[in-house]
Symmetry: C2
Subunit: 337 residues, 2 copies
DNA sequence: TTGTAGGCGTTATCAC
DNA sequence: GTGATAACGCCTACAA
């Protein structure tokens, strides 16, 4: 390699010059086309190696129209649930020859719009998005421009493909379990209700309450921000205001752990004073020593299905709508009794 | 917006046609150049909006030579330490108009090489990398092709810019603390010794031992894989083989928690039976209820410095070498006594 | 088997 | 203040 940072990048032209062929022949030799002789291919490859040639995929993309890149747009990459999903999707995408552009929205609708526009501008081949859902104009933007799949959340009366967990069922089994354990004052830390998963988990939870003839108690339902830090103050405030609760069903594991920390700092023990249930089962992938009872769906399956649906749309022009609702289980650990 | 997925994307040409100007004028109107009249700018912007125009940045990149994209290459995005750093860097980069391409290497040297080549091929403007360090040929590849900054690890006798924590000092204060607390049988779960941070943390640890005239005990130093799952079996095995230890110093928080889980599952209590110290202070950003004593450096500062050094190299052609070693503190929580 | 011409969408240069 | 032209690097189509 004689290339170096101060000189300009090596192009096909440089190889052509050195090898004594045309740019075109070099291009096709490197693409291993079968109308080029083996001898030429060998020589061209040698020269390319010698010069340290690396394909300019910007040029390839402009010409070919695809970038072999997928955008993943989500609310909070520092939430282990998301980072696990990203990692799993990245693996599947890489296996198929794609790279991943990660865009964090902080659950901000404006950031989301920028992320989508930027992705379209960069001509990514498709988008995987966990939408903020503050309204659906961003989804319209997607629909008009690029293949995409929603992950974790869905819109109603809409034809977007999505892969979600069975949030209603998850809310139901979590709440039912708490009730069966004798808890009746469940502090429900729900996400914003324009988010489908938050809405459906709450609905499932209410069904379980109604089955036991318990009137869903609105003072025990607190809407919280679902980014890191969203639960701590709410739990502390609820307790200090004298709200009585014997258990907590949190929107996700991260917020469940945050709630436990808040309780501990108030001198309360989990599960002896308060039982806590989360959602996501982060502990299936990360070995944390604070065993949390939680609602679980296969993250690997979720990642795989999402990638497959998207790549089928891109590569096979599949235009059917695919809606996947993954089964959920209750994983019982030591945060409940 | 009349554009839709089935039709081709709107280009400058479409706007030019509709607005009655040349492609060139449209381009410069949209870039707000001052040799275009306000009236024209207004009209062009209106037409662009009406058609739902989104700039093709692939073409812009080919022409201009930059992509406003930075690659972040690291070992394990599902490790909260990395995902926190990614999130922080993403924020700083976004503020400066850059997007982030995330590439996971699973600490594999081969994946790392592919990630670098792919990044160069995609003409990203720069690379932030936590190198696998199995050898330095990948770094040579970077050096020859693109501005980059190492994060978290460094090479010796090398001019690469890097931002790291004071790993030697971190290893020293963690070990010193354990010794002061009366522990003398410290199980040191170290990372592969070709990784600078692993090597330096161990060296710092040994210094503390020697100061107390304790011979560094090799049977109590276990090299582990530093991806999720790397510590669990090692701790269980060490215990079952009858190895005596009263404390653990783990390479990072994730592996420290994993160790605690392993101990708990063996019926051992932390900190009553074994004290455990980690490294990273993930709990400064994520509210987990398992208070871990740990070595801490500012993640925000780390992210910010790394981005600043890189962008200075890119935008201001700064070619001085910048080496930043961040101060560390011991954060004492309940995993030690 | 290899070379020439043209174009992907944008922007810089220069002319008018 | 605006338009024509060329160029970024690559690949497809067609010619030789």
């Amino acid at each position: 390699m004689i290339n170096n940072k101060s000189s300009r990048p090596v192009t096909l032209k440089d190889i052509a010059l050195k090898a004594g062929y045309s740019v075109n022949t070099v291009s096709r030799a490197l693409s291993d086309k079968n109308d080029i002789s083996d001898k030429t291919k060998k020589l061209v490859r040698e020269v390319a190696n010698e010069l340290g040639y690396i394909n300019n995929s910007v040029a390839t993309s402009l010409r070919s129209g695809y970038t072999k890149t997928i955008s993943i747009i989500l609310g909070d990459i520092s939430n282990p649930m998301f980072s696990i999903l990203v990692k799993e999707m990245e693996v599947f995408l890489r296996q198929k020859g794609y790279t991943s552009l990660i865009l964090n929205t902080d659950e901000s609708f404006i950031q989301e719009k920028k992320a989508i526009t930027s992705s379209i501008s960069k001509k990514v081949d498709g988008i995987i998005i966990c939408p903020t859902q503050k309204d659906d104009s961003n989804i319209k933007l997607l629909k008009q421009n690029i293949p995409y799949v929603l992950i974790g959340r869905r819109f109603y009366n809409d034809t977007s493909d999505y892969v979600i967990t069975n949030d209603f069922e998850g809310g139901y089994i979590a709440t039912k379990y708490l009730l069966e354990k004798g808890h009746s004052k469940i502090l429900n830390l729900v996400g914003p209700q324009y988010i489908s998963s938050a809405k459906e988990r709450l609905e499932g939870s209410r069904k379980a309450l109604l089955e036991k003839n318990i009137e869903p108690n609105f003072t025990l339902t607190k809407e919280i921000k679902i980014v890191s830090g969203g639960a701590y103050k709410t739990v502390q405030k609820a307790f200090k205001e004298g709200l009585k609760f014997d258990s907590i069903f949190a929107f996700n594991d991260l917020l469940a752990w945050e709630s436990i920390l808040a309780l501990n700092n108030l001198g309360l023990d989990v599960p002896n004073d308060v039982s806590v249930i989360g959602y996501d089962n982060i502990q299936s992938k990360l070995f944390f020593p604070f065993p949390l009872t939680t609602v679980s769906a296969s993250k690997t399956k979720m990642a795989k299905m999402t990638v497959e649906i998207l790549l089928n749309k891109i590569e096979k022009k599949d235009n059917k709508t695919h809606n996947a609702v993954l089964d959920v289980d209750l994983v019982i650990r030591n945060s409940t009794k």
